[in-house]
Symmetry: C2
Subunit: 226 residues, 2 copies
Amino acid sequence: MSSKEHKKHKLFMVDDHPVFRRGIRQLLQFAPEIELVGEAASCDEALAGISVTRPDLVLLDLRLHKNSGHEILRLIRPQWPEIKVVILTVSDAEEDLTEALRDGATGYLLKDMEPEELLEGVRHALKGEIILSQRLRSTLGRVLNGTGRDDPEKKNVLSRRECEIVAAVAQGKTNKMIAQLLGITEETVKVHMKRILRRTKLKNRVELAVWVNDQSRLAPATRAIP
Amino acid sequence: MSSKEHKKHKLFMVDDHPVFRRGIRQLLQFAPEIELVGEAASCDEALAGISVTRPDLVLLDLRLHKNSGHEILRLIRPQWPEIKVVILTVSDAEEDLTEALRDGATGYLLKDMEPEELLEGVRHALKGEIILSQRLRSTLGRVLNGTGRDDPEKKNVLSRRECEIVAAVAQGKTNKMIAQLLGITEETVKVHMKRILRRTKLKNRVELAVWVNDQSRLAPATRAIP
DNA sequence: GGGCATATACCTCGAAAGAGGTAATCCATG
DNA sequence: CATGGATTACCTCTTTCGAGGTATATGCCC
């Protein structure tokens, strides 16, 4: 490697469309300060590649063949919190956006944007800024105001009671202990837990605990747990 | 409150010896920049008091009547990571020291130290430094070198295999998934898990997950999970 | 070679977790 | 007032965890 430039930014791309990847590769030729250190089309490939190449930034498609990009994002964040992850997808669904931001994405770009804008976005992201496709600004406004308009089961805000339970889970407490702590039945705690897991789209209490601890550290002002 | 000084440092004391507490109160009169915002003699009192007063620093005795100070420390860290916790105890046991440092204590002082030194220690701790009683320096050396000399069941280093498992747990994986991932039996994973929990003195996988995620964030260079 | 730690596997057993469903109460908002 | 969310509780059922125990093979250090 030539040691001429200070240090190239390392970029990793996860997308299951070979043609799209080719497009990005092409595009990156106009960004000499960015080096593409790896590509992946699946979750496994992505994690393997990322663990080896340790990129500065990951361009991540949400819809892959097997797993979803959200999963990958949730796997990357805890392991390598310093890696920036920018979502690059076709989905302008409010749900995907909120989930990605909640999971700690550095940016959310739509695939139909102009190549130049995309490059600009990546450059800003590398500087640590949070970037967002223009078309999503209005959506974000709604999200930040907590005025999600869609079906209740997908709200991104937890109720007071749920927050108390989440806090307890994040300390490793069992359902029984939480019940005792809050003066309710263990069965009721389970009910809450089930709803919490469905809403947060997390699989079990361990993921929940890790997620909360991430949240409270990385974005105390934005976290969903007041 | 008089708004004369910039802002007093808030200190919270947890110790079940009223007389010792009185001694500290006395001592703090010589530290006008430090304000004692609360005291507690038990775990419950401590957590309640801390959650209300939000001190900058907690002076924590390890041996309390009911719970141990270690427990309190483990409860404080995840909830209020910004609060500094300085252990103040009679125990010069290597085990207590390592456990406290592992759990994120800012300092570890012995109760037999000179009051002036104690005050100095607290002042340094408030500035974010890690403080340690002189008498423990040698012990710490041994600890950091991983040359713990005591019984094997209490070693503070995890084996390679155990680390792999811990990493997986920290991502919310179930034993079955880990088994598949590592190509071993779920039963074997369980065996490892049991040993890991015994060694780390953690109660369940949730605590383990949170602990690991704390470690990797707060002290990437010192963490027990290589 | 004799310990000792590690890693593997299998066994039982009880506790904990999570998914389902039903249902009652309270409270806010339309 | 009606609808719907939040909170509470109880039911069943399956899966997962974690604590015991036993056992074998490997490799390392004294």
